[in-house]
Amino acid sequence: MRFGVVIFPGSNCEQDVVHAVRHMGHSADYVWHGDTDLSGFDAVVLPGGFSYGDYIRCGAVARFSPVMASVVRFAEEGRPVVGICNGFQILTEAHLLPGALLRNEGLKFICEPVHLRVEESVCEWLDLSAGSVMTIPINHNEGNFICDPETLERLKANGQIVLRYCEPDGTVLPGSAPNGALDSIAGICNERGNVFGLMPHPERVVDPLSGGTDGQAIFRAIAKRAAEVAG
């Protein structure tokens, strides 16, 4: 499968994502944010970083980059679109995912591995067994997920909550989210399940050299979904 990894001015995790995808045996190419052609790609990843210096709000300017209209169309076709960290923030600003990401509750930039519980969700192509616990690093200042109560109910009812911060044994406690995220939410998907946003960085734990392999399952699943859609 061929992954398109979008580079916005200020993205800084695109090389890690490309490395992770290639490590998993797939091909990956960069897509400049000013380009609009996503033909030939089976999956699109919006990587982490500080697009446009995080000015105004994280992701607020990037969502108007020329490539984003193509990303919206790509998503409408049911193909996998994944936003990691700043990419997640861009997806919420672009209204491809609900809610928003506020500054971390403790006002501190947090860079550390976290435990994540895989929830039973409509994002079933992720192919991760519900209830299992992954360890993936986070690296952000604005990962404090928030949405209004009605949206939260809808996310729960539709099975759009994909990952929650948890304790090592998988239990979710009020303090499990290091950033104060509502309902310990670390990752969500759209109603259709093909647009997935998450604050943790799975690309950093794909190559065993970088300290773990829990991120492999996510890239394997994106490729599998892309193959299904491509027929």
Partner: protein, 79 residues
């Protein structure tokens, strides 16, 4: 030139971490009368004369504020 001042604040019910930190710090300094602090953004927008406020509201909805989490107030200023 017409000047608009825009005040962007978190919606009611949205936790404001910098505001909460400022409130705690003020309490630590002995300002017991402080009942709440909300920290937002101030934007000064200079536009061509005759630009209607609705146009500024559109800019707020589209880019300057995020309606999911923020409210904004627009004040026209004499320059």
């Amino acid at each position: 030139m017409t000047r608009y001042e825009i005040f962007v604040t978190y919606k009611r019910g949205i936790f404001d971490p910098p505001g909460a930190t400022a409130a705690r710090a003020l309490a630590n300094l002995g300002y017991d009368e402080v009942e709440g602090v909300s920290i937002g953004k101030y934007i000064r927008l200079d536009v061509a004369d005759g630009t209607p406020e609705e146009r500024v509201a559109e800019m707020c909805d589209k880019l300057l504020a995020n309606p999911v989490i923020e409210d904004y107030r627009i004040v026209a200023k004499e320059v």
